[in-house]
Symmetry: C2
Subunit: 132 residues, 2 copies
């Protein structure tokens, strides 16, 4: 499935995975994501629980925005932050792939198809002439 | 579930997540993991497809080993590398959690329990006296 990508697509996908994994490799940034996973929030609300300056938290938020994991929109004078789950889906898809999740699913499907085929071979006349 | 962790356990879990996410934030290291996800391999086999020195690849392998994603064992004179899927499970669990996967599952279970309870209240005598 992955092989049909062009070189350019593969390169930009790799760059996205680099950015998302790097963004998640920090406990403050993961805590921000955990906070936003409950509900979207203003920048000041997100910064509140941390023992650091608003400026320091803002830097972490910018890293998350650059990676595509967090999105910002304006609502009047407020900046509302929310999670973009699609970027997490891509990362999760990669992990499931290397853990062999999809192979196991495809293997199970192949076994099923083989059994159906065997079943079909054992009684080919059933299909040719019909039984109803 | 996560809340019952002690502070020390939470800190070491955070450190493990930091290390695994950082290890995955590099295309060469992800390619090594993809290679090992098909089957375990010797260091030289892993290094072969890359246009870089064995020393450069070895550095990437050491980062993967330090993160716990890759394990090394000796087999005679060879060093065999393989994936430790448990470390990937932890990372995957974190992603599923912030994507609200478990909340959705727990919500579904809660709904089911509520319905079973309602059902039980509507006909309590069925259970007291039995029907068989």
């Amino acid at each position: 499935m992955i092989e049909v990508e062009t070189g350019k697509q593969a390169a930009s996908r790799a760059a996205r995975l680099d950015a998302v994994f790097a963004a998640l490799a920090d406990p403050t940034r993961r805590a921000i994501i955990e906070r936003l996973s409950r509900r979207e929030a203003r920048v000041t609300e997100v910064a509140e629980p941390f023992h650091m300056s608003l400026n320091a938290v803002s830097k972490h938020i910018r890293v998350l925005e650059a990676s595509g994991v967090v999105e910002r929109r304006r609502k009047g004078r407020d900046h509302i932050l929310s999670i973009n789950t699609r970027s997490l889906d891509e990362v999760d898809g990669w992990i499931l792939r290397v853990r062999g999740y999809w192979e196991k699913r495809l293997d199970a499907m192949e076994r099923l198809l083989r059994e159906l085929k065997k079943d079909h071979k054992l009684r080919p006349k059933d299909r040719k002439h019909g039984s109803r």
